[in-house]
C-alpha cells in the first residue's frame, strides 16, 4: 500500500546551513494495516507525513502509494492522487472555519473521484455521530466534535491510506480514547491503512503494531538534528 525508499528532506536554517530532518531508507505499510509510530515533538514526524501526502516535495527518494510513485507525478496529478487515495487527520483538525460541518466534508470529497456527494457526506457524518450538526460551523462544536468532523472528512472519499498526525493531541483522555477508537473502527470499515504518529503513550498503547520513528529516520539516529 505504502512504500517509502531513500526519502530525504532538509531545511535551511536561519544561519543558512542545511538541516536534514528526514532520511528514511525504507518504510512500508500494507493494505488495511494500522501502525502507530512514536516520535517526540520536533522529531520530523509531521514532515514525514507531509512528504508521504505529497504536500511537501522531498529532496530525494520515492514514495509509492498503491503502486503509484508520487515523486514521478506532476503536481496536479499528485493533488489528484492525494484527493483519491489519502485521508489526512491533522492535530489541529484544520477545519475550514467559515464552512458548515457538511460543507467541510463535501469540500474534502469534491477534489476526489466521488465529487461533491452531499448524500454520502451526510452518511459519513451520521456515522461519526454528527448527523444533527450538519449546518453548524466548527466554532459552534466542542473539540471532540471537531475531531469527528476531521475524521469524517478524511474518510469520506474511502481513502486507501489515512495519515493521522497527533490526532488526539488536543483532546482530553476520554475524548482521545473515543476519537482514536472511531478512527480505527472507520478505517477498518473502509479497509484503509492507517499510519498514526504520536508521542502520547496511551494513544500508542492501543495499537498492536507500533514503531519508533527514530528507528526508521536515520537523520535522527545520526543525531544530525
Amino acid at each position: 500500500m505504502l512504500a517509502v525508499t531513500d526519502l530525504t528532506k532538509s531545511f535551511r536554517t536561519p544561519e543558512g546551513e542545511a538541516l536534514e530532518v528526514v532520511r528514511v531508507p525504507e518504510f512500508s505499510l500494507g493494505a488495511g494495516e494500522q501502525l502507530a509510530m512514536r516520535g517526540e515533538s520536533g522529531s520530523g514526524k509531521t514532515t514525514f507525513l507531509n512528504l508521504i501526502a505529497g504536500i511537501l516535495a522531498p529532496d530525494g527518494g520515492a514514495v509509492r502509494i498503491d503502486g503509484t510513485e508520487m515523486s514521478a507525478l506532476s503536481e496536479p496529478k499528485r493533488d489528484r492522487l492525494r484527493a483519491e487515495k489519502l485521508g489526512y487527520i491533522f492535530q489541529t483538525f484544520n477545519l475550514l472555519q467559515g464552512y458548515t460541518v457538511l460543507e467541510n466534508v463535501v469540500l474534502g470529497m469534491s477534489f476526489g473521484p466521488r465529487g461533491a456527494d452531499r448524500g454520502h457526506a451526510r452518511e459519513v457524518l451520521e456515522r461519526v455521530g454528527l448527523g444533527h450538526r450538519l449546518r453548524h460551523f466548527p466554532g459552534q462544536l466542542s473539540t471532540g466534535q471537531q475531531q469527528r468532523v476531521a475524521v469524517a472528512r478524511a474518510l469520506a472519499n474511502r481513502p486507501r491510506l489515512v495519515l493521522a498526525d497527533e490526532p488526539t493531541g488536543n483532546l482530553d483522555r476520554a475524548h482521545a480514547r473515543e476519537a482514536l477508537g472511531l478512527i480505527r473502527e472507520v478505517c477498518r470499515e473502509h479497509a484503509a491503512a492507517l499510519l498514526l504518529v504520536s508521542h502520547d503513550e496511551e494513544t500508542l498503547a492501543q495499537f498492536d503494531r507500533r514503531r519508533e520513528f527514530a528507528e526508521i529516520n536515520v537523520a535522527l539516529q545520526e543525531g544530525r538534528r
Partner: protein, 401 residues
C-alpha cells in the same frame, strides 16, 4: 459547485469588505452609465427637438440664443422683429409655414408664449404628430384673452379648463409684476414630450397688447418659426438674412445649432466621464487591496483546501472568481445607482426644458460598462490569486516539527 461554494463562503466571510467594495464599484458604474446616457440622450433629444420647424427668424444676434428662446423656451429673447419682417418671410416662396411668437411674460415661472392658433391646428411637432387638446378643451381664439396650457405647465400650475389667471411681467416670476389682464384657460394640451409642454400658450395679440406693455411695440414679435419647402430654401434664406442682411438672424438648421451647444460644453461631460473612470479604477484597485489584504487571514483555508487535494489552479480560480464576483455585485448594484441618478437628472431636465429622456432606452454602454467593471475587478484579482496560487501548504498548515 466546489468553486462556487468556495467563492460564496469567502464572500460571506469577508462580507463587510465585499459590500464596501461593491458599493464603490456600484457608484462608479452607476455614475459612468448615467453620465454617458444623459449625455447621449439629451444630445439626441435636444438636436431632434425642433418641434416640427426647420428654422427660426429673429432679431440680429446669436443663433443659439434664438433657438433656445424660440424652440426650447429658455434664455431671454435676443430682441424683437417688426411685423413687416415676419410678413415678408411668410410670403417668401421657399416658406411652407411661418408661425410668429412673442414672449416676455410668465405665469408663476412658466413662460407665456403668444402665437397663432395655426400652430396647434396645422403644424406637426414630430413626423405624423399634431398637437392634441385634451378632452373638454379647445384651442384659444386669436382675438380672445384665452389660454391653452402645455401638459407639464398645467400639471405644475394645477390649471384646468375654465380657470382664470393674470400673467406676470418678465420671464422670471415676480409677484409684484402682475398684469391686470384676465385670461381664461380653454384647453390643456396632451403631452408631447417637447418643450411645448412647459408653456402656457395665449393668442399673439393677447401678449402684444397686454396692459403695461409699450403700445409702440404692440405689433412686434420675438421670432418667427419656419417650415421650409426644401432644404435649399434654408441656405438661400441664410444668405439673404445672415450674409447679406444686417438686421435679422436666421437660425438654420436648428439641430446643427443645438449640436454646437453640446460641442461647447463637451469639456464638462469629459470631466465627468474622467471622474467616473477614475472612480472605477480606484474601485478596482480597492478590490485588489481588499482581497490582497485578506490573504493573510485566508492562507490557512487555502492551504487546507490544497491539502485536501485542491489543485493550485482551483485555488487561483477561486480567488480570481471572487474578485470577478465582487465586480459583478458592484455592476448589478450599479444599475440601481444608474436608474436612481438617471431618473433624478431626467426629471430635472424635463422640469427645466421639457425634453424627456427615456429611462428604459438601451445603449451599448449599459453592457460595456458593467462588463468592463467585472473585467477590471477580475484583473485586480490576479495579484492576490497568484499569491494564493503560491501558498506553501506544509508551512502554512503547521510549524515544522
Amino acid at each position: 459547485m466546489t468553486l462556487a461554494l468556495i467563492v460564496y463562503r469567502s464572500l460571506r466571510q469577508h462580507a463587510l469588505s465585499t459590500l464596501v467594495t461593491a458599493a464603490g464599484l456600484a457608484l462608479a458604474g452607476g455614475l459612468l452609465m448615467c453620465v454617458w446616457m444623459v449625455k447621449t440622450q439629451s444630445q439626441a433629444a435636444f438636436t431632434q427637438s425642433t418641434t416640427g420647424f426647420d428654422a427660426v427668424l429673429g432679431a440680429r444676434g446669436s443663433k443659439l440664443q434664438l433657438v433656445l428662446n424660440a424652440i426650447f423656451h429658455l434664455e431671454a429673447s435676443a430682441g424683437n422683429i417688426a411685423a413687416a419682417d415676419a410678413e415678408a418671410v411668410r410670403r417668401h416662396p421657399m416658406i411652407k409655414t411661418a408661425i410668429p411668437i412673442a414672449v416676455g411674460d410668465n405665469l408663476r415661472g412658466f413662460r407665456l408664449v403668444g402665437t397663432v392658433p395655426e400652430l396647434f391646428t396645422t403644424v406637426e411637432y414630430a413626423p405624423g404628430r399634431k398637437f392634441v387638446v385634451a378632452a373638454g378643451g379647445r384651442v384659444f381664439a386669436a382675438d380672445q384673452r384665452e389660454a391653452l396650457a402645455g401638459s407639464f405647465a398645467a400639471q405644475r400650475l394645477r390649471l384646468k379648463v375654465g380657470d382664470k389667471f393674470r400673467p406676470f411681467h418678465g420671464l422670471a416670476f415676480d409677484p409684484k409684476a402682475e398684469h391686470a389682464d384676465d385670461f381664461t384657460v380653454v384647453g390643456i394640451l396632451a403631452p408631447t414630450n417637447t418643450p411645448a409642454d412647459r408653456v402656457v400658450w395665449i393668442p399673439l395679440r393677447g401678449l402684444q397688447t397686454m396692459s403695461g406693455h409699450d403700445p409702440k411695440m404692440a405689433t412686434d414679435l420675438s421670432a418667427v418659426l419656419l417650415q421650409l419647402r426644401t432644404p435649399a430654401g434654408g441656405f438661400m434664406l441664410d444668405t439673404m438674412y445672415n450674409k447679406q442682411g444686417n438686421r435679422l438672424t436666421l437660425a438654420y438648421p436648428i439641430g446643427a445649432i443645438v449640436a454646437e451647444l453640446f460641442g461647447k460644453i463637451a469639456w464638462f461631460d469629459r470631466v465627468l466621464a474622467l471622474v467616473a473612470y477614475l472612480v472605477a479604477l480606484v474601485a478596482a484597485a480597492s478590490v485588489l487591496a481588499s482581497i490582497y489584504n485578506s490573504m493573510a487571514a485566508r492562507r490557512r483555508d487555502l492551504a487546507i483546501l490544497r491539502a485536501l487535494g485542491a489543485r493550485r489552479r482551483t485555488i487561483f480560480g477561486a480567488v480570481f472568481a471572487e474578485a470577478a464576483c465582487i465586480g459583478a455585485l458592484g455592476a448589478a448594484a450599479g444599475f440601481a445607482v444608474y436608474f436612481g441618478l438617471f431618473a433624478g437628472v431626467a426629471n430635472l431636465i424635463r422640469a427645466q426644458t421639457g425634453v424627456v429622456l427615456d429611462l428604459g432606452a438601451g445603449h451599448p454602454v449599459l453592457w460595456i460598462c458593467p462588463a468592463a467593471l467585472i473585467a477590471l475587478c477580475a484583473l485586480g484579482g490576479i495579484v492576490p490569486a497568484w499569491k494564493a496560487y503560491r501558498t506553501p501548504v506544509a508551512e502554512t498548515l503547521a510549524p515544522l516539527s
